[in-house]
Symmetry: none
Subunit: 175 residues, 4 copies
Amino acid sequence: MRSDARRNRELISAAARELFTERGAAVSMEEIASAAGLGVGTLYRHFPDRAALLETIAADTLERFLAFGRAEAARDLPGWQVLLRIIEHCTKLPLALVKTLAEGVATAPTVAILTAEADALLAAVVEQAQRERTLRPDIPPREVVGLLNVMVCRPGARADDHLVTVMLDGLRAAR
Amino acid sequence: MRSDARRNRELISAAARELFTERGAAVSMEEIASAAGLGVGTLYRHFPDRAALLETIAADTLERFLAFGRAEAARDLPGWQVLLRIIEHCTKLPLALVKTLAEGVATAPTVAILTAEADALLAAVVEQAQRERTLRPDIPPREVVGLLNVMVCRPGARADDHLVTVMLDGLRAAR
Amino acid sequence: MRSDARRNRELISAAARELFTERGAAVSMEEIASAAGLGVGTLYRHFPDRAALLETIAADTLERFLAFGRAEAARDLPGWQVLLRIIEHCTKLPLALVKTLAEGVATAPTVAILTAEADALLAAVVEQAQRERTLRPDIPPREVVGLLNVMVCRPGARADDHLVTVMLDGLRAAR
Amino acid sequence: MRSDARRNRELISAAARELFTERGAAVSMEEIASAAGLGVGTLYRHFPDRAALLETIAADTLERFLAFGRAEAARDLPGWQVLLRIIEHCTKLPLALVKTLAEGVATAPTVAILTAEADALLAAVVEQAQRERTLRPDIPPREVVGLLNVMVCRPGARADDHLVTVMLDGLRAAR
DNA sequence: GATGAATGAGGGTTCATTCAT
DNA sequence: GATGAATGAACCCTCATTCAT
């Protein structure tokens, strides 16, 4: 019975993730439920309201990012390389979802905390790369993080696309 | 009453621009009207429906951009400098609005045409800069345009902010 | 100036008559005004509100009918023949309009009075025909009037169409 | 909850039928819902929009008519008698509703088909009566059907009222 | 627990009517 | 007196949420 419940929760958030990705935040609860093969009632059993669902999805995505990012940061690689790996990972993650949901999620403390943590993690890596003199030192780490966010959350971003290349070239420390 | 009507139309689109900028596209017609100090009926007299209002605002913004961009392009300056001037102008224009409204405006032919024209204009300037060897030649102009769009439509973009600097450094042709 | 006013009033009621005939009662005041080549304001100067316009049109039509009917009745013809002439006249008159407008006009005293007068006139003619033994005597005149109304207000009724023929054959006194 | 839903659907169409009969097609969805003791949302769950409600009511009425008419036609009675029975049945049915709703229902294929079927059924019965020499042969069956429609859809029509008598006398074949 | 029917507030839109020009 | 812009109540419809089954 517990496993059933978990399964349903999973079905719902998977359906929601997919629909939000495809069609933006303008998807009704009914549609999400039926895409998950369940009734609305069941959806509401798992998520008290729409905001909770959005937050959960945003938080899940951020947590997956954080888990990966922390694991990478713990491996003692050069900062620039960590950055590359994180960027690659991000472009595979539906991080754009967080942007899509942003409006409905702005005031959720969980999401705010996770976002702050993610930004802090990135900032630390950027700082490391600056100390290692592979990333130009004249930009405050926070701003580099902003740039990474923008580049990585573009719809259709890929780790090796031209825009990322340009960004990286712009960030690299002069020889 | 022609002048009054024009004034009201201006009041409405100003209110709409402001509210959309502040709170995204999810603002009701009622709210826009009353922010303009008018009744809904008046709003509907000037804009036949919600889509028309969104389109008008998006189109106006794009037109202002195009007007400036074309004037600059006609001045026979080096491409790189035109780019700088356009970027500066863009960051003063509420071009982010066009992004905000994008979803509700997707199928409007006017907006599609203007967007295409704006992209073509930018692409031409980029190409010129590439011919003049001030902008790296290994990125297709269309993609550079994508990058400019992303950078310029960030909320809070400024012409001299760090992110734009990074982007420009990434785009500059190697000596 | 007086004649201008009369002319405008005429333009309005002509336009209204035409539009109501073509498209039923669901025509807006704005449309009527602009079909008359005037502004709504002018329409409202001549008719205090929508009900007044409907009533005027209904009353005009009924008055024209009454004028004709009374003239005929005054000519000392046999009742059956008067009936025939009235039917013919009715099918040329837009009497169906009165039906079309009926819903919006139900409570207007003027219209009620005129309708009653029209019915009374017809009933008198029917009674005369009954006295003259050309119209069957077993149906109360009021009911014959009801039948005539139904037949004559059909859309597309003509004085010599099959349905009128059947009705007249049904009404004729047995030899 | 299947049974409740069915019951509610019934409540809604009963309320709609009643209100449309009393006050014409100009009744708001809100009013219909609350006359049924339900919220608007429930109404819209059962009928996707106003047109669907009108159509359903019109179609139901027509179907009831057709069911009866076909059963009668299958009984091998003389055509004239079938006609009498159908007329009697019609005057008990709220067929006038179909007329009332006609405007809002004009383009509904279901209603168009049912109307055509009803007319065809009546025409066949008329033709039979003409072959049996009980109904005058000089009127095309389609037109007789038009006459029947007019007579039966009068508000307040009854099978034995004077107007029906007159019509039947008009239709009967001369001896 | 799951289901999906019911609810009703709120959004977009129309149109009779008023009123400044 | 004519004009047409402005008004806002009222309509149709959607959808987040609740609740009976």
